[in-house]
């Protein structure tokens, strides 16, 4: 493990990674580029026995892999889907995933799935509900769960605390970690009118196990988290600000819309190195251990 790791679980700093996407499969298999780690969208590999899984097996053989899901629906009032969790656990074992993450959100109720990351009301009722489910999921997966702050576009009038407080209390009560998406903090801060640095400064650095960075789309009246562009300078600056608190933490650049060539995505991700200081030595060795 990385001796520099500062987080609660001593998870290593894997360096700077990118998401594994279909359009890059051929490039990755052929060129075997030097990438610190890959993050995979868990649901894309749960129910397929075809090419995606074949590619993933080869990637997991060569690179550290982390799992990132979008359908756990940890905040839903529907029962947890244990068949989904069983498959997720199998996938984590198969890929020797360094950790498993999803989002603080709900995706559907009444047995249906909107496949969106819908916002939670930030209430005591919601906090107790989510904390209990996180504990259940962590026990089932036999690993701590990492939750990402999603971009949100709506605020509930009944919310009784800011999101950073909700996250902080949730992580304490359920002993889970945070995948801190700096772009999402920026997006939500714009949409709801709060200070993004206040959000970042309120998060317990020992609970942050991974960062996300991405581009977004400014609609004038609000910002949408579209993952279809380079990150803007303000987001990079927030990342620098947060890394100064947490130290170097595994960082991943997400690009999901209008995905350009592999080298473009990777180059954008590698910009993170400039903000991470000179603490790169030993990172790859730590990741391989």
């Amino acid at each position: 493990m990385n001796p520099d790791a500062r987080n609660r679980w001593n998870f290593p700093d894997l360096g700077v990674g990118i998401g594994l996407r279909t359009v890059h499969y051929a490039h990755i298999l052929e060129k075997k580029p030097e990438v610190d780690f890959f993050e995979i969208l868990s649901e894309n590999y749960l129910d397929t026995g075809g090419r995606p899984l074949w590619v993933l097996d080869q990637v997991a053989e060569r690179y550290p892999v982390v799992l990132h899901g979008v359908s756990l629906s940890i905040g839903s009032t529907d029962p947890l889907d244990f068949e989904y969790l069983r498959k997720l656990k199998n996938l984590a074992d198969r890929t020797r995933a360094r950790w498993v993450s999803d989002h603080l959100c709900w995706t559907g109720v009444s047995g249906r799935n909107t496949h969106d990351l819908l916002p939670m009301p930030l209430t005591e009722e919601a906090l107790a509900h989510v904390a209990e489910r996180v504990r259940t999921v962590s026990d089932f997966l036999e690993r701590p769960l990492m939750l990402e702050n999603a971009s949100t576009y709506a605020e509930f009038a009944a919310s009784s605390m800011p999101e950073w407080e909700f996250f902080g209390r949730l992580m304490e009560q359920a002993d889970c970690g945070m995948l801190l998406d700096v772009n999402n903090v920026y997006v939500s801060a714009f949409n709801h009118g709060f200070d993004p640095k206040r959000y970042l400064d309120s998060i317990d650095p020992a609970r942050v196990t991974q960062y996300h960075l991405a581009g977004h789309t400014h609609k004038g009246t609000h910002i949408v988290d579209t993952h279809n562009d380079h990150a803007i300078p303000e987001v990079w600056e927030l990342y620098r600000h947060s890394v100064a608190r947490t130290g170097n933490v595994s960082t991943l650049f997400e690009w999901d819309g209008d995905i350009p060539a592999f080298d473009v995505v990777h180059a954008e991700a590698l910009r993170a190195r400039a903000f991470r200081g000179e603490r790169e030595e030993g990172r790859l060795a730590a990741a391989a251990s």
């Binding site: 090419r51 359908s71 249906r112 605020e155």
Partner: protein, 283 residues
């Protein structure tokens, strides 16, 4: 003074928000829909969702509502590219809107969202050339099934010679899991290929009997059109008919040395990796 917050219980709040999101049309219409009204009086929305400096409460929920159908259209366009191309973007979006209202996603994955799509297309009014469109949907659905089917090892071609001659009569060939057979009334395979090739000079789409085996080889999808006898023979084998009976059935209409023909087919199909094992019962 803003109105006091309305604290809906979490289950009701989520049912309301989902009802709004799943509703097509403008956000203002969505919050007025019967499903949304069953959970929340539209006049109370301001007590549930705060407005921002730039968006009203309804507009803020509308951000999610607007993205829902776009996501569904994108998912089905990915699985049914030829049908989407044939219908055109606007008509395809209308079809998807009606479809997900009838068959919303009930899974953690969008991979099988289109599982009911072919039968839905068959009965959806107002589609031009509906029989062709329905055939196209059924064909593309089979392609999707093959893409995701579990991987099974292919039976090696050199094993054919190891089956004793007198055992072939009762041999049962088991297909790989990633194989589907489809018989259609229209040239769906040629049409899909023209879309994949971005060839806008599409083949004629009039009635034409088309029989296709879709299978995965080396993790790639292959589509092979078959004549009627070959299709009947392969169908019999895939259904688990013993080789002798499948041959007898398939060669009824074949002129000339039928036995040689079916063995050529068999060798080709085995070489393509369509079978995973051969079972020979003890006579």
């Amino acid at each position: 003074m803003p109105p006091p917050p309305l604290e809906l219980p979490l289950p009701r709040l989520q049912r309301w928000m989902q009802a709004v999101i799943e509703q097509p049309g403008e956000a203002g219409e969505a919050v007025e829909s019967a499903a949304a009204r069953a959970e929340l009086d539209p006049a109370e929305i301001g007590r549930v969702i705060l407005p921002s400096k730039t968006l009203t409460s309804v507009e803020r929920v509308g951000v999610y509502q607007g993205m829902y159908l776009m996501r569904m259209v994108e998912a089905l366009e990915n699985d049914f590219p030829a049908l989407a191309h044939f219908l055109g973007g606007e008509r395809f979006a209308e079809l998807v809107t009606a479809y997900v209202a009838a068959h919303p996603s009930r899974s953690y994955t969008l991979n099988r969202l289109g599982g009911h799509f072919p039968e839905f297309v068959r009965s959806f009014p107002g589609i031009r050339r509906r029989a062709f469109a329905a055939d196209l949907a059924r064909f593309e659905d089979l392609v999707t099934e093959v893409f995701d089917a579990p991987q099974s090892p292919a039976w090696p071609a050199e094993e054919i010679a190891r089956i004793p001659e007198d055992a072939w009569e009762r041999a049962v060939l088991r297909p790989v899991e990633a194989l589907r057979l489809g018989s259609f009334g229209y040239p769906v395979n040629a049409y899909l290929q023209s879309v994949k090739d971005e060839n806008h000079d599409h083949p004629p789409t009039g009635r034409k009997a088309t029989r296709v085996v879709i299978y995965r080889k080396s993790y790639e999808i292959w589509r092979l059109e078959l004549g009627r006898p070959a299709y009947a023979f392969l169908s019999a084998l895939v259904r688990g008919r013993p080789f002798g009976k499948a041959v007898a059935q398939a060669t009824q209409g074949i002129q000339g040395p039928a036995g040689e023909q079916v063995f050529r087919w068999l060798r080709d199909w085995v070489a393509e990796g369509m079978f995973t094992r051969v079972e020979v019962s003890v006579s």
